[in-house]
């Protein structure tokens, strides 16, 4: 059972990392990105090709996927999403437009991936031996990914609190109007946050690809998981996302162990419903 929980934490840490990028996009730039998972897939595929085609360390895939994801997300925000803000009469209409647009992008990207890389499931082997960790046996690649996630997440949170730009980003998340009044260029920084979110999810994709298979159509599942994590943790709360991720990971593993491994989504979903009904601002929200 301990091993199950530990597995859950490790997995959950990954979920938390995956959600961090979306938190940047939704919590700070305030745009929900339903094509988010496609950039995860791009990161995963990039690493896959690095290993299988060029026989390199999977992290070399990041050299391509991260800048591409950063740039593409920035462009999307600047040229596709910003015009919607100017056009929308109210927040709900804007949300609706953003959802539809990013759904459209999801299909376009997924379609492109399917055309160029095929619909097959891809996986590779890297660090797949098991190690002893705190008395349990876990695959090395998962552990490496987990620690990388912690480090990355920690760095991000540190940057958000200790740097001037990071503080400005947090300010935008709290009150974009007040942020403008203190001289922060809200639109530019929001675009930066959005692009950064894209970069982060590409990194997550690369890390996860070490131990999970990916396919062109899997992106949407990760988007959904990330969404569940940030809703449960509270949009905009970075620490909350990590904590919620781990909670979900543990619940999934424990639930799968006790009941049935085929019901992971049901467990995730039940937690989502409970949170939405009881405390819709999120478990770790500002309140």
């Amino acid at each position: 059972m301990f091993e199950v929980v530990l597995n859950g934490l490790v997995l959950g840490g990954m979920y938390g990392l995956i959600a961090l990028g979306l938190n940047l996009q939704y919590g700070i730039a305030r745009m929900l990105n339903l094509s988010y998972g496609e950039f995860f897939t791009a990161g995963a595929f990039s690493s896959f090709f690095a290993v299988t085609l060029y026989h390199l360390n999977p992290m070399f895939g990041l050299l391509v996927s991260v800048p591409a994801s950063f740039a593409l997300n920035w462009l999307i925000y600047r040229f596709l999403l910003l015009p919607l803000i100017r056009r929308a009469p109210n927040q709900d209409a804007l949300d609706g437009d953003v959802v539809l647009l990013t759904f459209g992008l999801l299909f376009v990207f997924q379609g492109l991936e399917q055309v160029y890389w095929g619909g097959n499931v891809r996986a590779y082997y890297y660090l797949s031996f098991s190690v002893d960790f705190l008395g349990a046996r876990l695959p090395a690649n998962r552990l490496v990914a987990f620690f990388a996630a912690l480090v990355l997440g920690g760095l991000l949170i540190l940057a958000l609190h200790k740097t001037r730009i990071g503080t400005a980003l947090r300010a935008i998340a709290i009150d974009p109007i007040a942020a403008g009044l203190t001289g922060i260029n809200v639109l530019n920084l929001s675009a930066l946050a959005y692009a950064l979110g894209g970069a982060m999810v590409a990194i997550s994709g690369a890390l996860v690809s070490m131990f999970l298979a990916s396919s062109a159509s899997a992106g949407i599942v990760y988007t959904l998981k990330a969404l569940i994590v940030i809703i449960v943790g509270g949009p905009g709360r970075m620490g909350g996302a990590l904590a919620a991720g781990m909670l979900l990971g543990v619940a999934e593993q424990v639930g799968g162990y006790l009941v049935d491994p085929g019901l992971t989504l049901a467990i995730n979903y039940s937690i989502l419903i409970l949170v939405l009904l009881i405390r819709p601002t999120g478990l770790f929200a500002r309140g």
Partner: protein, 235 residues
């Protein structure tokens, strides 16, 4: 140094400001009075770039036209707004709020000195420098909002109803601070419902009624003219 010419603002079909012309001179305290809904807040929001005036209106600041520019550029130019309701970053500490006030590049050199300056001017803030802004009392929050705006070293400080929701004693404290600022040479534009204190502080007064300038002059002239009392109490 700051001049609004023929400024009109409409929210949908509601004309909040109509053909308003206002002059703010250096080193002076200008008060804008008027009943609720007269358009005072809209006027400040227009200067600060939160609201766009209709075509034809101009805002000139130090010979540059700034109407319609984004808020952060207005701050960079040297005009800082202390908004109605304060709009502090509640989950951040006093220090973080103040630091953010010095975000414009222009204000970064000398940030630490200015920080100390604010903490001296507002001793209660110094006591609570690591406290979260949202846990402070109304009066303390108002002080923090003013201090944050001052951190950007503004040439003109705009204040939107700073006495809102404060007890009479706190209102006195607030105006004492404002007086210290004006005596030190800070130009301010003050929008207030509280006419008496504003008249004591200001060098020049404008009265807004239904989106139009109804009267303007020195505080002495305003006191003679029963307009204020009429506007506020319907006498």
């Amino acid at each position: 140094m700051l001049r609004l010419e023929h400024i009109s603002v409409a929210y949908g079909k509601h004309e909040a400001l109509h053909d308003v012309t206002v002059d703010v001179a250096v080193g002076r305290a200008t008060a804008i009075l008027g009943a609720n809904g007269a358009g005072k807040t809209t006027l400040l929001k227009t200067i600060a770039g939160l609201v766009r005036p209709q075509p034809g209106g101009k805002i000139l600041f130090e010979d540059r036209q700034i109407e319609g520019e984004a808020p952060h550029r207005i701050v960079a130019a040297g005009i800082a707004l202390v908004p109605e309701g304060r709009r502090l970053f509640g989950e951040m500490s006093v220090i973080d709020n103040l630091r953010l006030g010095a975000y414009p590049v222009r204000a970064r050199p000398g940030e630490s000195e200015r920080l100390e300056q604010q903490l001296t001017l507002f001793p209660r803030l110094a006591e609570r420098r690591h406290q979260l802004a949202k846990t402070m009392s109304g009066g303390e929050q108002q002080m923090l909002a003013i201090a944050r705006a001052l951190m950007s070293e503004p040439k003109i400080l705009l204040l939107d109803e700073p006495s809102l929701g404060l007890s009479p004693r706190l209102v006195s404290d607030l105006f004492a601070v404002l007086r210290r600022l004006t005596e030190g040479g800070q130009s301010i534009v003050l929008v207030e419902q509280n006419a008496y204190q504003s008249l004591r502080l200001a060098d020049h007064v404008y009265v807004l009624e239904n989106g139009r300038i109804a009267n303007a002059g020195t505080p002495a002239e305003m006191r003679q003219d029963k307009m204020i009392q009429k506007a506020y109490l319907g006498l």
